[in-house]
């Protein structure tokens, strides 16, 4: 197990290096620079700025400096927000994004699994048809449309929730729902088909022949086996929630990491873009690693390489 995790961590470092390199060069290729604005700066000032941020160095020098900084977890100063470093932005924005993302994943998994199980147990009855109709809707409506609908009906018309901003728990609900709707619908469909498949298995009949009640069979025998595909989906789901939150944070005016990320791209704030990209990559790679480990725990048939013998 330790060997397996060690190996995975090594691969993660290689992937990160590739990601850092790719973003670094892609950004240099893109036209424009952080100091380009409508009002042209005098050449001396621009040269001074370039020198201050090390942009006058040859590209390989900049690249190696950056690599060393990343290894020491120093993403450098922001080009646009004076006196703020990228590390500051991450420590400030990430907790907000984390709460939003965590709530969204929680909603998506809890309700997705619940709806999926209900639909499977009542296959081809009205419960099945109605939940699946809602699920198709959830998958087809993009999160930004869902967000504006929620704002319009629940915040402006009914005034149950605040429209935007990030101040109390009530403020977190609408953005979390908007972010969770798509994944929730997907999980519901995934759970349904997987449950239907599992319920047709012989061991369900064995469980029934033991005299167990329907509830016990569903929870103890069917769900654990049916949830394997859902666990697999948690990796991509994390990615979806992360990227989804860029838009949602912008719409709801939430000062999270995604908000800074989007702003930094329009500002061409090189260090912020790269810093946040690297940070997100680490999160995603960790999420995938956790999913793989969880998979091995839930399904004893899956042996993580290095656990025994291998």
């Amino acid at each position: 197990m330790t060997k397996y995790i060690g190996k995975r961590l090594l691969y993660m470092i290689i992937s990160l290096w590739l990601i850092v390199t790719a973003t670094f060069f892609l950004m240099r290729i893109a036209p424009g620079n952080p100091f380009a604005s409508e009002k042209k700066l005098p050449p001396e000032i621009e040269a001074n700025l370039q020198a201050h941020y090390g942009l006058d160095q040859p590209w390989y020098q900049q690249y190696f400096d950056y690599l060393i900084n990343v290894v020491t977890w120093d993403f450098g100063p922001s080009f646009k927000y004076k006196s703020q470093t990228v590390n500051d932005l991450i420590t400030e924005g990430f907790p907000v994004s984390f709460v939003l993302g965590f709530q969204a994943i929680l909603i998506a998994v809890a309700f997705g699994v619940l709806f999926g199980v209900i639909a499977a147990l009542r296959q081809n009855k009205w419960q099945d048809y109605s939940t699946m109709a809602v699920a198709v809707l959830g998958i087809s409506v993009p999160s930004f449309i869902m967000a504006t609908f929620l704002q319009y009906f629940l915040a402006i018309k009914l005034q149950i929730f605040p429209v935007a901003r990030w101040e109390s728990f009530m403020h977190t609900i609408l953005p979390a729902i908007a972010l969770a709707a798509g994944p929730m619908a997907y999980i519901a469909r995934l759970t349904r088909s997987s449950m239907i498949e599992v319920l047709a298995n012989d061991y369900i009949k064995t469980a029934k022949a033991k005299g167990l009640s329907g509830g016990v069979i569903t929870v103890k025998h069917a769900m654990r086996n049916a949830l394997l595909p859902v666990v697999t989906y948690l990796g991509p789901l994390t990615a979806g929630v992360l990227t989804g939150s860029f838009v949602i944070e912008k719409i709801f005016g939430i000062p999270g990491l995604g908000f800074h990320f989007v702003t930094s791209i329009t500002n061409r704030d090189y260090t912020v873009i790269m810093g946040v990209t690297v940070f997100y990559s680490i999160l995603l790679l960790l999420a995938i690693l956790l999913v793989d480990i969880a998979y091995g725990i839930i399904d004893p048939r899956i042996k993580l390489a290095g656990k025994k013998g291998e």
Binding site: K208, V216, R224, D299
Partner: protein
Amino acid sequence: MEKILEVKDLKVSFQTYGGTVQAVRGVSFDLHKGETLAIVGESGSGKSVTSQTLMKLIPMPPGQITGGEILFYGDDIVPKSEKEMENIRGKDISMIFQDPMTSLNPTMKVGNQIIEGLIKHQGLSKADAKKRAIKLLELVGIPMPDKRVNQYPHEFSGGMRQRAMIAIALATNPKLLIADEPTTALDVTIQAQILELMKELQAKMDTSIIFITHDLGVVANVADRVAVMYAGQIVEIGTVDEIFYDPKHPYTWGLLASMPSVDNDTKDELAAIPGTPPDLTNPPIGDAFAARNKYALAIDYEEEPPMFQISETHFAKTWLLHPDAPHVEPPAAVKLRQRQMSSNFDKPVIVKEGI
């Protein structure tokens, strides 16, 4: 001997898109304490549906019991609710399924799968149930049971899994064990071991067994009595000797003639029953077997044969036993081993109602 089960004119059908399939069409039999009844027949003859109906394990809907009674210790199971059935299943009646590779939950420890029933039906604590599970694994011949109890099914071989299934089924000392082709998915040496084990445990626990199979070799080995099913009906039932040495129904002849045997030194090819079983959405008029039966009489196409009683225990549903029927010779393979049964009546008697 005490009669524990009495099935009277049981009818089961399934609603499908193609129409109503009459899977079981009036089956009657009984079972005594400690006895093994084998139900044989080809695929689709209704033997599995019959046995699963005894525990009401068939999916309802689309399945439906359209008639008859299942008296278990005199108590009719048919009208019982799902909740009442939960207290019978796994406690008084247990079941072993065909494929041990898929009948155990892959993500649950074998021990936990055994103790579920014990906790539910005998109210044991988890610790006591586990001790009992280890004893049961030992009883069914699994070595190192205290280690095995914490393993998952994929760590067991096929034969071991079937032993574990037997442990699950026998955990609560059921009065009736239904074994639905328990050896079909196993290789021959393991088959013999499992059959040996079942006989041994039956003797120990005095459990009655209904043994579903299409393997006549297995039948000869385990059964006290045999019921031959065809197209959802029992066409012949009798003691194992009566069925093997004095069969009366042409379908039983066909089955026996198609069984390879060591002492069958005829150079002939192994016989096969031509054709396929009838479509039970529209069961044929008359004898369901008539179309495949080379001994079929004209009446077989018009009227369903009644049940004839040949001895106290032997019944067959064929017009050939009628006093007016012409005398026919069974196939050579059957004739070779035919013996005169001393218990036979002078003449077959028509019985009105089943058995």
